[in-house]
């Protein structure tokens, strides 16, 4: 650790991993409810479990992004963090707000929660992923601004690199586009149209800037390749992200009441969206092949390469599968969407945060890399989680294809619930893969507690 203030990242990383575990447990509950419908009913109805599952995902990724930026920005800027104290205060505010919100979901009927938290003042709740009560939403804005402020002030007083500028831009976009979560018109079409300005422009826009910056940082560190080379490719890749991704938003506008021309605009540009992901994969492998040093942290290199491959598969390939309007007409809102969502979020965002944690955490704990045995355990957890997530996506894809056929393409279409009975075998298999994922995650957490000879700094 070159700068003392980088230490605040540790808090964020620990919280991220804890919430990640929570997310997976709720995922398993939902997976079981898919086949044993009354499991935990009415204590935890499906909608509550799902809210917790998706909200925890968003929050732990944000914790990961924040921790990563508090770690990498001082090193990039070659100066201490502007205010470590602010970072710590922000951490506790965010953690407590997150915990209270999740407890609210679990313990209070959602309608009462809405009433008590001022949803009557400004309707913002009850929309997918944006279920947070008004005070939580305001809290997220404050936390995001405090984070942005801290990072930008640090960048301004130190060295300005492409990585730190791209990361800051990504954070700025994250904060700005979240503001659309406060806009909820009665007109359902407008509601949905601008809802995507948060959801799509986050995950297929500004978050990718953060992802790119984080991956570029780790690649520079573990390969020793010239910063100049890495940074110009970073710019080129995120250019392609914005070129394809912004108009690519149109692939969500096919069937929600927006004009029909979005079918062309959305199909053409989102069909190109795999390109930046493919470039990222080729780029990451190229950098590792051209490495100028053997970094002792082998696990971090594996996570980084894994991110580039799985992001391409999940976001690029699985996205492309159903992005063209004539295909999406049949697949929209089926298990295929769920398959893509799982693999993309895991491949791009969960993995990049884990990459960053894998690289930074040993250093935060005072060593260049973890002991050999801990690294081997970490690599096992990588393979278990990655392969089981790939199988979750495969099973959901199978479920989706059968669902589309029986419910939407067959000359004698079956009802939704009748189809669900037909595809329960896929859901059982998915739950099995989910259990393997949990084992992988537990192994990952366990790897932090393995003792042994660790490599000191050279």
């Amino acid at each position: 650790m070159k700068y003392k203030s980088q230490a605040v990242a540790k808090l964020y990383f620990i919280a991220a991993i804890g919430l990640f575990l929570g997310q997976i447990l709720f995922g398993l509950i939902m997976g079981l409810q898919y086949v044993v419908g009354d499991f935990l009913f009415p204590v935890i109805p499906f909608n509550v479990a799902r809210m917790v599952h998706t909200n925890l995902l968003i929050v732990w990724l944000l914790f990961g992004f924040m921790g990563a930026s508090y770690y990498l920005i001082p090193e990039e800027s070659e100066t201490e963090l502007y205010s470590p104290k602010l970072a710590i205060i922000t951490f506790w505010i965010f953690l407590v707000a997150g915990a209270v919100t999740v407890l609210g979901y679990l313990l209070v009927p959602y309608a009462s929660l809405a009433k008590w938290t001022g949803n009557d003042l400004l309707n913002t709740m009850g929309r997918e992923f944006l279920e947070q009560p008004l005070p939580t939403k305001v809290g997220i804005v404050i936390v995001a601004l405090s984070w942005l402020f801290n990072i930008v002030m640090t960048v301004l007083k130190g060295r300005k690199t492409a990585i730190s500028i791209v990361l800051s831009l990504g954070m700025l976009g994250l904060a700005v586009f979240f503001l659309f979560s406060f806009y909820n018109p009665v007109n359902l079409v407008k509601d949905k149209f601008y809802w995507w300005w948060v959801v799509h422009l986050w995950v297929e826009g500004v978050w990718e800037l953060i992802l790119g910056a984080m991956l570029a940082f780790v690649l520079i560190k573990v390969t020793g390749v010239d910063r100049e080379v890495v940074e110009k490719w970073l710019y080129v890749i995120i250019t392609m992200t914005l070129v394809t991704g912004i108009i690519g938003t149109g692939h969500h506008y096919f069937w929600i009441g927006a004009p029909a021309y979005w079918q062309w605009w959305g199909s053409v540009f989102s069909a190109l969206e795999p390109i930046p992901f493919l470039m990222m994969t080729i780029f990451a492998f190229n950098m590792v092949n051209k490495r100028r040093r053997e970094h002792p942290n082998k696990a971090a290199v594996l996570w980084a390469l894994g991110t580039s491959v799985m992001a391409f598969l999940g976001a690029g390939l699985w996205g492309f599968l159903h992005t063209l309007a004539p295909i999406n007409y049949y697949t929209h809102g089926t298990q295929l969407t769920a398959a893509h969502g799982h693999l993309a979020f895991f491949g791009a965002y969960a993995l990049v945060v884990l990459t960053m944690i894998s690289y930074a955490m040993p250093i935060l704990r005072g060593r260049a890399a973890n002991p050999e045995r801990a690294q081997i355990m970490e690599m096992w957890s990588f393979w278990l989680m990655t392969i089981s997530m790939f199988f979750i996506a495969l099973f959901l894809t199978g479920a989706g294809i059968v669902q589309v056929w029986l419910q939407r393409m067959s000359p004698t279409p079956m009802s939704f619930m009748a189809v669900q009975d037909q595809i329960s075998i896929f859901y059982w298999a998915r739950e099995g893969a989910g259990l393997v994922f949990l084992i992988g995650l537990l192994l990952y957490i366990g790897s932090f507690f393995v003792k042994g000879e660790s490599r000191a700094f050279e």
């Binding site: 053409v268 190109l272 190229n286």
Partner: protein, 193 residues
């Protein structure tokens, strides 16, 4: 992609490689849209033929000449800067910039006539493609003009030399792409029946 890192001595593409990646992406997007146009036209030839007759071929043809001429000016501008003549370069590029402005004005008159007749992207499939393609291209012309303006200002300050004129070539490459796309777009949408 990898060769870009290694092979820096073959001089095939003028200008900075970064703009070429952008150009490839743009050509790909336009290419797919052109194919989509042809595909849609095949589905409903009569509608496309009938709607096509309402387009102003004359303004399209004038704009084609305008853009080709502007490309010629840009070529002259690059030739000038290769000899280190900043001022001449700025003059040629200013000519191209003005022609870009002429294109924009003519195009706006054309758009205005369509909007006045209540024609939008939602009118029918032909107009959807016509307006999408031409507006998308129109925005490229505007962006090209911004790039030219930046190069002109730098050239006027004497910012380029016989050693360092990559910036001019980079902008020129983009402008030629804008011209090239129109040369495909014009016959495709305005003429071919």
């Amino acid at each position: 992609m990898p060769p870009a890192i290694n092979i820096n001595n073959q001089d095939d593409l003028p200008g900075d490689f970064a703009i070429w990646i952008f150009i490839f992406a743009e050509m790909l997007a336009f290419g797919v849209l052109f194919v989509a146009y042809a595909f849609s036209r095949a589905q409903d030839v009569e509608l496309f033929n009938a709607s096509q007759l309402t387009l102003s071929r004359i303004s399209g043809a004038i704009n084609t000449l305008v853009l080709i001429t502007s490309s010629y000016f840009v070529v002259q501008g690059v030739a000038a800067i290769k000899r280190g003549l900043n001022k001449q370069c700025a003059h040629w590029l200013t000519g191209a910039f003005i022609l870009g402005g002429v294109f924009v004005v003519i195009k706006m008159v054309e758009f205005h006539a369509k909007f006045a007749a209540d024609i939008t992207m939602s009118t029918n499939n032909f107009y959807m493609f016509y307006l999408s393609l031409t507006f998308f291209h129109f925005m490229h012309v505007l962006m090209g003009m911004v790039i030219l303006a930046m190069i002109i200002m730098k050239a006027k300050r004497g910012g380029y030399s016989t050693q360092d004129y990559v910036g001019v070539e980079t902008g020129a490459s983009f402008w030629h792409m804008v011209d090239f796309l129109w040369i495909i777009l014009f016959p495709l949408v305005y003429i071919i029946r």
